[in-house]
């Protein structure tokens, strides 16, 4: 019979890693299962200057590596695998992997979110050919070139600033007439000589022959269409939850975000949700980590109540 864990955590981003740390530190046996990259979305940014204590420019990958090491030091186990199904009907929950399964008393869903596509023609065809969702991964390619950033939230504005270290010119295309991002970074972006903003405008099409050559823009107020030549398009228009696996199991909102209460409890007893995958107002590394801690503490309470 396979080992029975106190906590099985699905997803190895900041929420999952913090949950692992808190669970292990509370002497619960904990395993984190991650299908992709440890650290999740946080590894795709170099700019993490709003994480408290991170004043010496730690970068996403560095901070995530440290979070993982910290959880490991307290005894969290790590497994690189993809979960294909789960059974949460019994007192012992079962996670099904390709060739094996994991049994646990509680589950913390920390699968996070992923970038939303723009939905413009040409976007899918030109992915990796100038269309990107990861500035850290792809900024290098655009050294001394010109890029367009689409979006107006924190990610768009922060990554636009980051891209100026590489590209000669960064043009931010935003559908509204002001940014939703934090004021300090907006000021930093607007005072950057390499950044120009095109307000009230959407990208209608990305085109190019095998490689991005330009975008077709449309002003949403005047309806005026224009053509804009560029070498790259970085898309930061929001995220969508990675929650397909849990559809029909736990309650979600219409967008697929999992509904959890203040204690991170979902609609199923013993199943918790933490981080970007749940319904919440602020999706940041710090709020994900906080969710993870709360979920782990409540998992412990649940186990004490139900298994002792």
């Amino acid at each position: 019979m396979s080992k029975l864990y106190d906590v099985a955590i699905i997803g190895g981003g900041p929420a999952g890693l913090a949950a692992g740390l808190y669970a292990s530190r509370a002497k619960m046996s904990a395993i984190i299962i991650e299908r992709g990259k440890w650290g999740g979305q946080a590894t795709t940014t170099e700019e993490l200057e709003n994480y408290p204590g991170a004043i010496e420019h730690p970068t996403g990958p560095k901070l995530m590596e440290r979070m993982k090491n910290q959880a490991e030091a307290f005894g969290t186990e790590f497994l690189k695998d993809e979960i294909i199904g789960l059974d949460v009907s019994g007192e012992i929950k079962v996670l099904k992997l390709g060739k094996s399964e994991i049994q646990a008393r509680t589950i913390i869903i920390a699968t996070g979110a992923q970038p939303t596509l723009l939905g413009a023609p040409g976007e899918l065809e030109l992915r990796g050919k100038g269309v990107s969702y990861c500035a850290t991964c792809d900024a290098d390619f655009f050294t001394e070139l010109e890029v367009v950033v689409v979006g107006g939230g924190d990610a768009a504005v922060e990554e636009a600033i980051y891209l100026t270290k590489f590209a000669d010119k960064v043009t931010v295309v935003h559908r509204r007439n002001e940014f939703r991002a934090a004021k300090s970074i907006v000021e930093k972006a607007l005072s950057n000589d390499k950044i120009t903003v095109i307000w009230d405008t959407v990208v209608e099409e990305i085109y190019g022959d095998g490689i991005v050559e330009g975008v077709k823009l449309k002003n949403v107020k005047t309806g005026e269409a224009s053509d804009f030549r560029t070498d790259g398009v970085f898309v930061f228009v929001g995220t969508k939850p990675i929650s397909d696996l849990f559809k029909g199991i736990v309650n979600m909102d219409e967008k697929g975000y999992i509904i959890a209460d203040e204690e991170m409890r979902t609609s199923i007893e013993g199943v918790f949700a933490a981080g970007d995958v749940r319904v919440k107002s602020l999706r940041q590394v710090i709020t994900a980590a906080a969710d993870g801690a709360i979920a782990a503490v409540n998992a412990e309470k649940y186990i004490e109540k139900n298994f002792h």
């Binding site: 990958p61 992915r127 990861c134």
Partner: protein, 106 residues
């Protein structure tokens, strides 16, 4: 896996007979680095059936752009020097999709 650069790319990929898979990665591409152990395993599993190479685009930017690669991770299969199939982006490049890419082209 063969490490590619501007000096051997032509001979190892474009002039090569048969199927060659190239893993385009970069120093700052965390998804690429996370995939690397799996790619090495696949290269061992399918050893002899296809040639497996990797190209560090941080060091070989122009070469990558020359192959119309401006995003990571990207995996391209060449046959007799011609591109036949490629996949790109962290969500699209998983150990499963990479294995399928190999299977379809051996």
């Amino acid at each position: 896996m063969i490490e590619l650069n501007k000096d051997n790319f032509e001979a190892e990929v474009l002039q090569a007979e048969g199927a060659v898979m190239v893993d385009f990665w970069g120093d700052k591409c965390e998804p690429c680095k996370a995939l690397m152990p799996d790619v090495h395993k696949l290269a061992e599993k399918y050893d002899g059936q296809m040639k497996f190479c990797k190209l560090n685009t941080t060091e070989n930017r122009r070469l990558a752009i020359g192959q119309k690669v401006l995003g990571l991770p990207t995996f391209i299969v060449y046959k007799n020097g011609e591109k036949v199939k490629e996949i790109s982006g962290a969500e699209n490049c998983t150990p499963e999709t990479i294995e399928n890419l190999i299977k379809e082209n051996i």
